[in-house]
Symmetry: C3
Subunit: 329 residues, 3 copies
Amino acid sequence: MTDNLQFDGQGRLRHLLTIEGLSRQTILDILNTAESFITVGEREIKKVPLLRGKTVVNLFFESSTRTRTTFEIAAKRLSADVININPGVSSATKGETLLDTIRNLEAMHTDLFVVRHSQSGAAYLVAGHVPAHVHIINAGDGAHAHPTQGLLDVFTIRRHKGDFDKLRVAIVGDILHSRVARSQIHALAALGVPEIRVIAPKTLLPTAVESLGVRPYTDMQEGLADVDVVMMLRLQRERMHGAYIPSEQEYFNLYGLTAAKLRYAKQDAIILHPGPMNRGLEIDSAVADGPQSVILPQVTYGIAVRMAIMALIMGGAPETEPAARRRAG
Amino acid sequence: MTDNLQFDGQGRLRHLLTIEGLSRQTILDILNTAESFITVGEREIKKVPLLRGKTVVNLFFESSTRTRTTFEIAAKRLSADVININPGVSSATKGETLLDTIRNLEAMHTDLFVVRHSQSGAAYLVAGHVPAHVHIINAGDGAHAHPTQGLLDVFTIRRHKGDFDKLRVAIVGDILHSRVARSQIHALAALGVPEIRVIAPKTLLPTAVESLGVRPYTDMQEGLADVDVVMMLRLQRERMHGAYIPSEQEYFNLYGLTAAKLRYAKQDAIILHPGPMNRGLEIDSAVADGPQSVILPQVTYGIAVRMAIMALIMGGAPETEPAARRRAG
Amino acid sequence: MTDNLQFDGQGRLRHLLTIEGLSRQTILDILNTAESFITVGEREIKKVPLLRGKTVVNLFFESSTRTRTTFEIAAKRLSADVININPGVSSATKGETLLDTIRNLEAMHTDLFVVRHSQSGAAYLVAGHVPAHVHIINAGDGAHAHPTQGLLDVFTIRRHKGDFDKLRVAIVGDILHSRVARSQIHALAALGVPEIRVIAPKTLLPTAVESLGVRPYTDMQEGLADVDVVMMLRLQRERMHGAYIPSEQEYFNLYGLTAAKLRYAKQDAIILHPGPMNRGLEIDSAVADGPQSVILPQVTYGIAVRMAIMALIMGGAPETEPAARRRAG
C-alpha cells in the first residue's frame, strides 16, 4: 500500500485512506478546517453550500449504521446529495466484483465514495482504480485503518488539552485487532505526542508493537500512571469465545476502566471511546458518564472533522482563519 | 409517565408523546396548523423552507415502512434533512442501549427524533433524557400510544363532520392491544365528543374500559346504532393464534365491517382505518372502497398533520389564519 | 396490456411502461432530451431545478440496488425528493395488496413511482389505477419489459454509431427470459434498424421468435458476422441448474463473448451489457474492458436517459435545441 496514493501531483490530499504518512501539517490543516465547521452544527440553519450538486456515496460493505449516519449528516450539511448503498445485500450477491461496483457508480458521475469493508486494503484498492475527479474516504478497512476516527480523536484531544507535545496518552483494549488503535497511534505520533502507551492482555498486543513507537503495558496501574488521555477501545464480543480472553468478568476486572483504575491517571485526564460502548465490559458507566468523559463531544466533533475532510479532499474547503491556525501551531 | 414532559417551561408543546393530557386548545392548534399545510401538498412545488438546515431522524426500532414514509415525506416537504435509522439491524445488535443510541445521535446536533418502538414508554424514556433543543415525536410505543395517528383521525373527522360536540363515534376491533385506539379515545374526549363507544369481543376489551370514558359493546348492531363515525382498527393476525379469537372467519362474521353492518350506523357515517387493512378480516372491500370510506383522505391529511406537529414543536409553525381558528372553534 | 395507457388524451407520454407501441418520434424525443441532460452530469454543480418539490418513490418489490441507485441519482439531480421503499420487507409482509400500497403512497401526494416487480404486468396494473397527476416508470416487470434499459441502449448506440438505418445488431444470451432483450428489440425496430439478430442456444430462444422481427441464430460465428453492435445479456446463474444450459463452462465456450469470437463482428463493432456482468460466463474480461466496450458509457448515459424520461412524463422537460433534434433526425 503506497501512501502517496492519497495525494495528487501537487501534494494535495485527494483521498483519505490512512493517517500513516500524513504530515503534521496536513493533519493540522484538517483539524483547523474542522474548527471552522464546529459552528455550522450550532447554527439555526446547519447547512453550507460547499458540496451542492455533488453526489456522495456511502458504500458500506460492512454495515455500521452509526458510522454511516455521521458521514450522511456531514455530507448533507455540506449540501451534497447522498446515496446509501449496502452492497452486501445487492450486487455482491449477484457476483459482481468490488471494482465493477465502483466503476459503475463512478460512471454515474458520483464524486466521493465513503468505503467501509471488512478486508484490509479495500479502500486502497478502490482508490487505485478511480479517475482523478473521484475521491475516496476510508471509513474502516478490516483491521487496517479507520482514519476519520483517529482524526476526530486527536481533534478531541486538542480541544481539551491544547498542545500535543507534552502529553502522555494510553490506548487500552484490543490493540491487536483494532483499526482504530492503529489510526490513533499514527495520528498521535505525527502530532508529536512524546509518550504513547498501549495497555492490553498479552494475547491482544501485536508482536513487536514497540516498532509502532508505543510502549506496551499489560497492567492498568502501571500503564495508566500519570497519563493525560485514556483512549478506550471497543472490545468485540466475538473475541470472547476464542483464546484471547478468559471471561468477560475477568477482562472487566483486569482491564475495564473503573473509577478506581482511573485514579492512576492524572486528575484531569480525559477519557475517549469510539463507541458503541460495551458498558460493564471495557468501561464502567460511572466513568463513561462521568466528568472526565469526552465520549459525546467526540461524536459532535466527528461531524465537523468529517465535513472538513470531505471539503478538503474535494477542493472546496473554506478559508481557515489565521487565528485558528495560530492556536493549533 | 408524567405528561408535562411534553411541555416546556412556557407551556409550549416541546415533544409529542401522547394525546393524554393535551388540552382541547393544544389539539385545535395542531389541527388548525395542519389546515394551513393541506395546500402545500397540492402545490406545484410541494416544499416550504420552515425546517431548512434541521436534521430529522426517523428512529424505527419497530419497522414500519408506511409510517416512516409519512414522516419522511412530511419532513422533506418542510425542507429538513432526513436520516432513516432502523437500529434493530445495527447498534442494537452491537449491545448498545437505547439511551446511548439517542445520546450519540443528539451529539450530532440532530433536532428531532421520530421514535417507534415495540415497548410502551420508549419515547418517554428518550424524551426524559434529551437536552432542551431536541424534540421527540412518538410514532408508536408498544400498546401505549400513537398520537400522530389519533390526531390525523380527529383532523379527518373535523374535515368531514365539522364540530365534535354532537358526534357519536364507535371504535371497532382489538381495543385491548391497540395504541391507536388509546390515542383516538384521548383525542375524541379532549375535543368534547359526547359519546365514544368501543366494540370488540370481550377478550379484546380492556378490563374497566369504562374508566377511559367510553361505552363498551360486544355486538356490532348495538354498538354501531346511529353512530356518525366508525373507526376500524387493524387486527394483528398474530392474535389469531391465541385465545383471543376463535377463527378469522368467525371474527369477520361477527366484527368485520360489511355493507350490511354499516347500515346500523347513520346513513352519512364515515369510516376510518389506520391501515394497512386486512381486507376480508376486519373490513370488507365493498366498505373500504365505498363512498363512506375516508381511509385514503386520512393518509393525505396525515402528511399535513405530521408537518404541523413537526413545525409546532420546533417552534417554526406558520401563522394560522384567524379564519381557520374560528372555523375550528 | 393496452399500450395507450402510456399516453394522455393529447397523446403525450404520461407513463413509461414499455417501448412496444412507442413511435419513432417519441423515442427520438426521449433521446434528444437525454442529450440535453448529458452535460448536467459533467457540471461542477450537477443539479437542475426541474422537479423541485416533487416526490419520487422508488418502489422496488424486486430489489436491485444498482437500478434503484440510477433512478435515485437521476431524480436528485432533477432536485426531486426521493423516497426509497422496498415493500418486500414491509407492508407486503403485513398482507397489504400492491394496489393498497400504491393508493396509500399516492394519497401522500407523491408524483412519480418507479416500479420494479418480479411479475410481468405489475407496472401496468399500477398505471391503470393511479389518478391523472401520478406517473409511473417501469423499472423492470418480470420477463416482460425494462424500457429505460432499452432506451439507454439505443441512446448509447446512437452516440457511437450515429444513424440507425444501416445497422446490423446482435443480441446475445438468454433471450427467452430477458425483459431487457424484449425492450431492446422494440426500441431497435421502432428506430428502423434493418437487421436485428438474436443469438442463443435453442433452449433460450422463445418459440416463434421471428415474429418479433428478429433473425435467430444458435451459432456465434454466424450470428456475429459483420454486425455493428453486440448487445450481451446477463445470464441468470439460476438458469444453470435447469435444463437450459449443460454447464457454465460449455456456455462460455459456445456463447461467451471472447476476443476470438468478437473478430466475427465488424472491426469497429461496439459491445453493450446491461450489467452486472458475470465475467467469464457470458463475457470475457478482455472484451468487457477492451476498446470496443461501451459498457461504462451505458451507465453514464443511463442517468441522462432516466432524467429525460422523468422530466418528459412529468411535463417539465427543458427545450431541446433544434440542433440536437436535427442531428437525431
